[in-house]
Amino acid sequence: MTTKLTIGKAINEGLRRAMEDDPKVLVMGEDVGRLGGVFRVTDGLHKDFGADRVIDTPLAESGIIGTAIGLALRGYRPVCEIQFDGFFFPATNQTFTQLAKMHQRSGGRLRLPVVLRIPYGGGIGAVEHHSESPEAYFAHTAGLRVVTVANPEDAYWMVQQAIACDDPVVFFEPKRRYWDKADVDTTRSLTSAAPMGAARIARPGQDVTLVAYGPMVKTALQAAEADTDHSVEVIDLRSLSPIDYDTVCSSVRRTGRLVVAHEAPVSSGLGAEIAARVTEECFYHLEAPVVRVGGFDTPYPPSRLEEHYLPDLDRVLDGVDRTFAF
């Protein structure tokens, strides 16, 4: 049986199911309770699970993530909501020096099953602090798993997988796609869903591999559709750390060309990492240099300039064309 869900609602339903399945799962953050979160992703959970399990915290990101670590050390599975990408930064210390490292630091004795839910990316006319794509900072830090979703199906299952995972998981939610709708089969078991760490071929093709994730998957699929000259294979990366290089490299070995697209600035972004690794592993299969398409190397611009900043259909297609022009 399938249900039509938006990405936002699918995360909400996924949280609900995780809380039903495991009484150790807690939701905490600023205004996640009565208000249901700024994007209403936790809507209704406070009413149904109570204030003990859906906790309205003070405005203190470091305190939220720090206390979540403490809860996790005593066997709970806290899911922290950070309201916006740019609001995360006060909690960098707790995340990078504690959350990411305590499993290793304790010789594997401690487990930190904490999920950080972070709405990220631009495209909703918001501004600095409200539109950023900080995934590379997290992916650069060993000990954190970093994932993002591009459709309601993944939103529903991956949030549950993130909660079930014994590692800390940073769960990036593409905020401009929250309202995208699709059918989700919610009757299956969690174990039957695609693994959280696996990339997905979102659209098969033969001529060029186009890797995207989160909000850019939709743009990549539109680009593939629009490109009548080439058969574009679109890969939805899903897991940003670790990256499923098996799927990416086997695609590149078939197509010989790779374009990576993300909203984050190009310099030292995830595209750079993917390009480097693919060059190492598929050098003799490549027909052209790996091309990166992304945001410009500037702070996030005001809303009127946003459309010029974000990589759109034209810029992705332009990137594809460049790999053939080489």
Binding site: L59, V127, H129, V293, F296, T298, R304
Partner: protein
């Protein structure tokens, strides 16, 4: 509901330190004031009110982008605080700042143009609603991240102290800010190093939708300076004269005694957290209470009853405020958007190698 109850002692400034200097023991009385001064305060309050109403309208018409937080209900607090500052004093605020920017002396035109994202705005259209900066009027921001301004304001006070200047820094924030680490780090440093800064908490009872009681272990926020032996005062933020007196007292003491203070102003937020927030977490009674505590109407009534605000003067002020707001909106509307080419202009202050100069429409590689 406890979270909107008028605090005990609202209307008179209270001090935790016990030491009162020039503060009057009774609430300030308009009979002791110059009518001209009172009318000036009234006009400033009305200007902020009408400016923010126009801002809300422009936002819903999509003339303003991003997020937009209004000062509606905060007019008496703003005018009282800004009156207490000298031109040479510095101001740091949070993201609910339009009225403060105007109160510190930035023209409504520049503020509105900034809201519209136009290149004639006070931050050339790059800052928007939350990030207005103006070194000339010494308004040093506008900060979008809660608590972001506190260490910076403390640093500005350190600069004054280091140089032996006689300016004072005022650092405004909301009630939710008192729970973030930067608040405590900043208050400790300011007290430890005897810095001339007045931290002002505008307590409107709610951090977005969560009440002060539900988020603060010490909900009487003016007491939160006591860990740092910092004197704290609570004032009725609906009363422009009370705010002015309390703030003036602390600003002048910070200047004379070279030490920090904490001022809490109790204020009502008349609308949601931002223009798009319908504030459903508020009960009908709470919304009514906020409306009943409208500081502009209350002051208007007071001045009318005292015979200071006649029908004629009231109309005159209403007309001139309307014209000023209309002029600001027209100026904004007719100003140019920043050129797309300026996207790369301000990332670095100095030339950097390999800097991207490609235009957004340019190909990813040059031919």
């Amino acid at each position: 509901m406890a979270d909107t109850a008028k605090p005990k002692g609202g209307g008179t400034a209270r001090s935790t330190g016990g030491r009162r200097r020039s503060r009057k023991d009774t609430a300030p009385n308009i009979a002791d004031e110059q009518p001209k001064t009172l009318l000036d305060y009234y006009r400033q309050m009305l200007l902020i009110r009408r400016f923010e109403e126009r801002t809300a309208q422009a936002y819903t018409q999509a003339r303003i982008g991003g997020y937009c937080h209004l000062n509606l209900g905060e007019e008496a607090t703003i005018v009282g605080l800004m009156t207490a500052l000298q031109e040479r004093d510095y101001l740091f605020t949070n993201y609910r700042e339009h009225g403060y920017a105007i109160g510190k002396g930035i023209s409504p035109r520049s503020v509105m143009a900034e809201l519209y994202g136009r290149s004639t705005g006070v931050s050339k259209g790059w800052g928007g609603s939350m990030h207005m900066f103006d070194t000339q009027t010494r308004m040093l921001g506008g900060y979008g991240i809660v608590g972001g301004q506190l260490p910076l304001a403390t640093g500005a006070a350190l600069a004054i102290s280091y140089r032996g200047g006689d300016e004072v820094v005022m650092c405004q924030m909301g009630d939710g800010t008192t729970n973030i680490g930067a608040f405590h780090e900043s208050l400790n440093i300011a007290a430890l190093w005897n810095l001339p800064i007045v931290f002002v908490v505008v307590n409107n009872f709610t951090g977005m939708g969560t009440t002060v009681e539900k988020s603060s272990a010490e909900p009487e926020l003016y007491k939160r300076g006591s860990s740092y032996r910092m004197e704290g005062v609570r004032v009725d933020g609906q009363d422009v004269l009370a705010v002015r007196d309390a703030a003036t007292d602390l600003v002048e003491r910070a200047r004379a005694e070279q030490k920090p203070f904490l001022l809490e102003a109790i204020s009502y937020r008349m609308k949601g957290h931002s223009v798009v927030d319908p504030a459903k977490y508020r009960t009908a009674e709470q919304a009514e209470e906020a409306k009943a505590n409208d500081p502009v109407l209350a002051f208007e009534r007071q001045l009318e009853e005292a015979g200071i605000l006649t029908e004629e003067i009231k109309q005159e002020i209403a007309d001139s405020v309307r014209d000023e707001v209309t002029d600001a909106a027209d100026f904004a509307e007719n100003s140019p958007h920043p050129e797309v080419s300026t996207l790369f202009d301000y990332t670095y202050a100095t030339p950097v190698p390999n800097e991207s100069r490609r235009m957004p429409a340019d190909p990813v590689f040059a031919e």
